[in-house]
């Protein structure tokens, strides 16, 4: 099997091609999609810890809320940010 070096995913409805081995977080950041989410009081937020502990990077990947810093990019992924102010986890 040839090594796959690129992944095509959809970020907020836009198709982007990124190197395999990167995180969904990096894909979002490199696409300039900031803020990543809104906090309970409506503040703009972005990733903090980069290693899975703070949950600030969470977003919806293929209809599941995940920590994007722990999520590798895969072909065909659909990524949406959590921009509504609510208790969504």
């Amino acid at each position: 099997m040839p090594e796959q070096t690129l992944a095509v995913l959809t970020l907020e409805g836009v198709r982007v091609t990124v190197p395999a081995g990167t995180t969904v977080l990096a894909a979002l950041q490199n696409a300039g999609l900031s803020p990543l989410r809104r906090s309970l009081s409506g503040e703009a937020r972005g990733a903090l810890c980069g290693m899975g502990s703070c949950s600030e990077c969470r977003a919806v990947v293929d209809s599941q809320t995940v920590r994007t810093c722990l999520t590798p990019v895969r072909d065909g992924q659909n990524v949406r940010r959590l921009m509504e102010v609510n208790r969504e986890s």
Binding site: N30, S34, S39, S41, G50
Partner: protein, 425 residues
């Protein structure tokens, strides 16, 4: 009887990799778990098996050893010590129960964050955090970065980011110059460290290093635009894209806590000379036992792997080497001890708990974690106090008692499913 592994190693950084390899060489069937998508831990994140150097060698040896099964993207959500220890693990394979005769904890460390005005702005990130993000593919080329907080990690982060093309404007350290110098001298005495220090210094040529420096505030509208630092009596404001800020590393002891392992006064897992914890059959190695860097972690991983597999004859030299590491560790602790007058001061409106947006002013009146949590929801959000728990220890002197299962957020599908049992091949 459930199928049982001889040993589970939790964490695939240097300590965990070394522990797994050593235990497998002693004949144990080992399962190596790690939360990241690939093994290596934070320091060797993105390193490839077989690449030149210690990381590549160890990653290759672990990957090719028939006695080791590696499960990446796997997080421990619950743990119970017993005759056979049981870990509950979430991964893309779903929720699984894993039984093992021995557990080696190599869960590493996380960064300490302290709140100040503007620290919740996008663009304010951990120091180790920005390094992790850049290793995860974040493009930092041409980005203006201020690195701040405390500890030798700041230097490594600054050098690493620079190498990736970032413009590091300054490194702002809260510790004083004498402490930093004492650390430098101790580090240079360790075998092999002098060259490393020189390389680091070369990587940082031209970057101002400010000791005695406090972070005052971050400013911007929905995005970081500048950071204000205090040097002596003067405030300095730097326009930047990222503020990479962390106040040292803390042992990541949550799994250890669930298993009932005793912690020491510094909050690290207590171990004896064989890296055995207070709970029978459970060992710990690396930064979970105290912050000391990669060489100490490798050594402790080796000792834990030998001890867990009964290879006592291989341990001849270990106590002496461990002593050298421990001395280094205590210099490190003293050199970068947090100084209250150099730490950021939150205002009443500064958010302390980022998940629930609980502010400093709401928390100041409380005397302990539990009361504050019940009244304000501090620590009850998505991160379950992983960020604000330790913060409140530093700010208010509370003891953070919020570690409970599940340790990681579980997808609904896994909450409802019956866990399967993952046994050895």
């Amino acid at each position: 009887m459930n199928p049982e592994w001889d040993a589970i190693v939790v964490g695939a950084g240097p300590a965990g990799l070394m522990a797994a390899l050593t235990a497998a060489q002693g004949g144990l069937r080992v399962l190596l778990l790690d939360a990241q998508p690939t093994p290596g831990g934070q320091i060797w994140r993105g390193a490839a098996a077989g690449q030149r150097g210690a990381a590549g060698d160890l990653l290759r040896d672990v990957a090719s050893h028939p006695g080791i099964t590696v499960l990446s993207g796997a997080e421990v959500v619950a743990a119970e010590a017993g005759k056979s220890h049981i870990l509950t693990v979430t991964s893309s394979a779903g929720l699984t129960h894993i039984h093992a005769a021995r557990v080696i904890l190599a869960t590493g460390a996380t960064e300490r964050f302290l709140p100040f005005d503007g620290w919740t702005l996008p663009g304010v990130v951990g120091a180790g955090g920005l390094q992790a993000m850049s290793k995860g593919g974040l493009d930092v080329r041409g980005k203006r970065v201020v690195v701040a907080g405390s500890g030798p990690l700041l230097l490594a982060v600054a050098a690493g980011l620079r190498q990736k093309g970032a413009r590091v404007l300054a490194v702002a350290e809260q510790a004083g110059l004498p402490g930093v110098a004492a650390f430098g001298v101790a580090a240079a005495r360790l075998p092999g460290k002098a060259t490393e220090a020189l390389e680091l210094a070369a990587g940082l040529r031209g970057v101002p290093y400010w000791a005695d420096c406090a972070v005052v505030r971050a400013s911007g509208q929905d995005q970081l635009q500048s950071v204000t630092l205090r040097r002596g009596r003067r405030e300095v404001t730097l326009a930047c894209d990222y503020l990479a800020v962390g106040f040292g590393l803390m042992p990541e002891t949550r799994v250890a806590a669930l298993l009932g392992c005793s912690l020491d006064a510094q909050g690290a897992v207590e171990v004896n000379v064989w890296q055995a914890t207070s709970v029978s059959g459970i060992y710990a190695a690396g930064e979970v036992c105290g912050i000391g860097g990669v060489d100490g972690a490798l050594l402790e991983g080796f000792v834990a792997g030998c001890a867990a597999s009964g290879q006592i004859e291989r341990l001849r030299d270990a106590p002496r080497r461990a002593e050298i590491q421990r001395q280094f560790q205590s210099v490190l602790e003293r050199s970068f001890a947090l100084r209250p007058d150099r730490l950021p001061t939150p205002s009443p409106a500064t958010i302390v708990c980022r998940c629930e947006d609980v502010r400093h002013g709401q928390l100041q009146g409380f005397t302990n974690w539990t009361a504050a949590k019940l009244q304000t929801r501090c620590g009850m959000g998505a991160c379950q106090g992983r960020v604000c728990g330790p913060t409140t220890e530093t700010l208010y002197g509370w003891r953070f008692t919020g570690v409970r299962a599940p340790l990681a957020p579980l997808p609904l599908s896994q909450l409802l499913a019956q866990p399967t049992v993952l046994g050895p091949p």
